[in-house]
C-alpha cells in the first residue's frame, strides 16, 4: 500500500481515498483519466470508493446517501453498484447505460483475453489468474467469459441485497444524458429496464430528470478514437486477425498506434499461435520465475517512467533476452507482412525507442522489443496515408488503435463543465486513484454469506 494511504485510522484513510475520486461535492469519477486502465484496476477503484464512502457515512447507517446515480453500466459500474447494495442498506441506485445491455463491450468478445494483473507483469504475483475480489470476482479468460462471470455474480448480489427489485433502477439505451455538477441533477431520455433474473427487459422509453445525493461516473474505457480515413472496429469486437489466412497468400497490414491495443494486435498479426495467456510460459519455459525476479529488480531501478527499449537493450543478462528471441523467431507468421505505424498524435515519435515509454504494459513492450529483434515487422513514422500507399495495405487491413478520448467524453456529459474542468485536469495530472486494496479487509458482505441466508 502506498505510504500516503497506509493510515491505520480507517476514517482518515477513507477520507484520503475518497478525496482522490472527488470531482465536485457528491460527484465522483472512477478511473477514466488514470493511466493503465484495466478492468481489474477499475474494480479495485470501485471497491475503494464504495468502502471509503461507507466508512465515512456508516455512523448514521448511510442515512445521507439515499439516492445514488451511476453513469456507466460496464464492469466498473456494476461493481460499485454491487458494493453499494451490499454496504448501504437504504440506498436506491439508478444505473445509466448508453447501450442496450450491461457490460456491453466485453459481451461476446471471444478474441480478447482479460487477465486481472498481467498488466503489472513482472511484479510478483502478477501471473495469478484470479482477481480475488470480494465483489464481482473473476479469473482470467476471454472477455466474453469474464463478462458472463461478472454478470452472473451481479445477479447474485441483486438476489441477495435487492430481492424485491426495489433498490436498483436500470436505464438502458440512454440517448440523452446531461449532468449538472452543481446540483447533482441528471436529465435523461432512456428506457427503463425490468429485471428478469440475470437479464433486463426493455420497458417504455422515458424522458426525466432527478437530483441525487451522489453521482458516480464510471464511463470506463469508452469507445475508441477513430481515424476518419481508416475506421477500425472497436478493440472489443471479434475479427480474424489472429487466425491464419485461408487463401494461401500473404497479406499486408498496418497497425497504427503504440498503446496496448496496437501492440497486442501487432503480436496477433506477427506471432503464430499467439495467445496472451500462454506466451510467457512459451518464451521462458524453464525459468519464468527466475526471469520475473530479475526483471522486477532491474525494472524497479529504472523507475515507473523508464524506457523499456533501453532496459532490454542494456539488460545485464542478455542471454535471457536472446533465448526468448530464439523461441519467438521460430514462430513468426508467414502469411502476414506487418508495418507498425508510430507517428504519434502530435508527431512526437521520432524514433522507434520513443514508444517504449509508459504508454503500454511492460509485457507488451517486451513482446514488441523481441519482435523487433526478430525483424518481424517494419516501421513507419510517416503520414499514415503515405505508409498505406507505400506498403500496399488494403483499407480493411489498416488498424488504427488510438485509445479513447476520456476527457472529451466526460466533457460531453455536463451542462456546467466549467464547474469541474479544472478538477478533471487535476485528477488526470495527479494519478492518485491507486489500483490497490485500500479498503479494510473483510469490509464487503458476500451474497453467499448473508447472515439471514
Amino acid at each position: 500500500m502506498d505510504h500516503e494511504f497506509s493510515i491505520a485510522d480507517l476514517k482518515e484513510r477513507a477520507k484520503a481515498v475518497e478525496a482522490t475520486f472527488l470531482v465536485h461535492p457528491g460527484l465522483y469519477l472512477i478511473g477514466s483519466l488514470e493511466r493503465g486502465l484495466t478492468v481489474y484496476n477499475q474494480q479495485l477503484r470501485a471497491h475503494n470508493l464504495a468502502w471509503a464512502l461507507w466508512e465515512l457515512h456508516k455512523h448514521n447507517k448511510g442515512a445521507d446517501i439515499r439516492r445514488l446515480a451511476i453513469v456507466g453500466g460496464g464492469v466498473t459500474g456494476l461493481t460499485i453498484a454491487a458494493c453499494f447494495l451490499s454496504l448501504f442498506e437504504n440506498v436506491s441506485i439508478t444505473l445509466f447505460e448508453k447501450l442496450w445491455d450491461l457490460c456491453p463491450l466485453q459481451q461476446g468478445s471471444d478474441n480478447r483475453w482479460l487477465h486481472p494483473k498481467i498488466y503489472e507483469w513482472p511484479a510478483p504475483g502478477s501471473r495469478a489468474p484470479g482477481a480475488s475480489l470480494p465483489v464481482l470476482n473473476w479469473s482470467e479468460g476471454r472477455a466474453s467469459d469474464v463478462a458472463r462471470t461478472v454478470l452472473t455474480d451481479f445477479r447474485k448480489f441483486l438476489d441477495a441485497f435487492d430481492g424485491n427489485d426495489e433498490r436498483l433502477t436500470v436505464l438502458l439505451g440512454s440517448r440523452h444524458l446531461q449532468i449538472e455538477a452543481a446540483t447533482k441533477s441528471i436529465e435523461w431520455i432512456a428506457n427503463r429496464a425490468v429485471r428478469a433474473g440475470g437479464f433486463f427487459h426493455i420497458g417504455a422509453p422515458e424522458g426525466n430528470s432527478a437530483i441525487y445525493d451522489i453521482v458516480v461516473l464510471t464511463p470506463g474505457f469508452g469507445l475508441e478514437n477513430q481515424s476518419n480515413d481508416y475506421p477500425t472496429h472497436s478493440y472489443w469486437r471479434n475479427e480474424q486477425l489472429g487466425q491464419p489466412l485461408l487463401d494461401g497468400t500473404r497479406h499486408n497490414f498496418i497497425v497504427s498506434g503504440f498503446g496496448d491495443g496496437a501492440l497486442i494486435d501487432l503480436c496477433r498479426l506477427t506471432i503464430e499461435r499467439y495467445r496472451q495467456d500462454t506466451i510467457l510460459y512459451e518464451l521462458f519455459p524453464d525459468n519464468l520465475d527466475e526471469v520475473e525476479e530479475k526483471f522486477t529488480v532491474a525494472w524497479i531501478k529504472k523507475g515507473p517512467r523508464g524506457n523499456a527499449f533501453e532496459f532490454f537493450s542494456d539488460f545485464a543478462e542478455p542471454i535471457i533476452i536472446d533465448k526468448a528471441k530464439v523461441e519467438l523467431s521460430k514462430r513468426i507468421r508467414k502469411d502476414t507482412r506487418v508495418v507498425l505505424h508510430i507517428r504519434g498524435k502530435n508527431r512526437e515519435i521520432k524514433k522507434f525507442s520513443d514508444i517504449f515509454g509508459p504508454y503500454s504494459s511492460f509485457l507488451n513492450r517486451m513482446m514488441t522489443f523481441l519482435l523487433f529483434k526478430c525483424g518481424a515487422f517494419s516501421l513507419s513514422t510517416e503520414e499514415l496515408e503515405l505508409a498505406v500507399r507505400r506498403h500496399g495495405a488494403p483499407h480493411e487491413n489498416v488498424l488504427c488503435r488510438y485509445g479513447t478520448d476520456a476527457l472529451g467524453h466526460l466533457h460531453s456529459m455536463f451542462s456546467d463543465i466549467d464547474n469541474i474542468k479544472d478538477r478533471l485536469m487535476e485528477i488526470k495530472a495527479c494519478q492518485k486513484q491507486r489500483p490497490q486494496r485500500l479498503w479494510a479487509p473483510g469490509a464487503f458482505p458476500d451474497p453467499h454469506n448473508r447472515k439471514d441466508s
Partner: protein, 232 residues
Amino acid sequence: MEKLYENPEPVPAASQLALLPFAAAMEGFLRNDSDIPGLRLTLHRTMSREGNGYLQQACAYLGGDEPEWRGKVGRLFPVTEGIIGAAYDKKRIYRTKEYASIDELLPDLQESMRLTGDDRNPEDVANSYLAIPFLGAHDHVVLILFAECKSFNFFADNDRVKHLAAMCQGFCRLFDWLQNQPVSNLRNFPLMKGQPIAESPTVYPLIQEPVDSIDPPRFRMVSSFNYEAAAA
C-alpha cells in the same frame, strides 16, 4: 481496535479443493470408529494483502454433517488469533494440555476466556484444541491445521498428534513434488510475504501448550499456498 475481519475475502477454488480432501482424510482418521463430539477441523493459510500479513481460513470446517463454509472460508485474522496465532508465533504444534479431570480443566478454560475477552458461554466452546503449523523452507508458516472437539484430553494423546503430524508431512512431500511437476493448468501462484498484522494474542493462556516433542511438518519447496486454475 475495530473488528475488521467480519466478511470473507476470496480463496481460489483450486486451493480449497487441494485442502479439503486432506482435511477430510484427517477427519476420518480422527473419527475412526467412534463419534467425537464437536469435532471440526480446517486449514488456514498465511497470506498478504498490500504488504500486510494475515491468517486466512482456506477451506470449510469439516466434522459436522456437511462442510461448514458459509461465512467461514476466506475470513482474515490477525496472526495473533487464538491457538493458530500461537502456532504461527512459536512455529510449534500447539494443543490443549493434559488435565487429570474435566473439573480441573474447566476453571482454567473459564479464566483463559476471561483473560482473552472471549465472552462466549464456556459450555458452548470446545475443550480440546490443536494447531499444527506447516513450515516453509525459510522457517516461516505456510499453512496451519486447526482442530477442536469436546472430547476431553483428545489432543493430549501424543500418539494421535504424531499420526496427524505424519499425515501433514506426507501432504508437504506431495506438494513439494507438485511445485516442480505441476498438474496441467493448476499452479501454485506465490503469495508475497507481508508484514504480520498482530493484535493482543488470544490463545487461551492457561490451557494451551506448545508440543516440543513432535516437530511440525515442513515443506522444502512450497513457500505459500495459492493454487489457482490457469490457462497455461
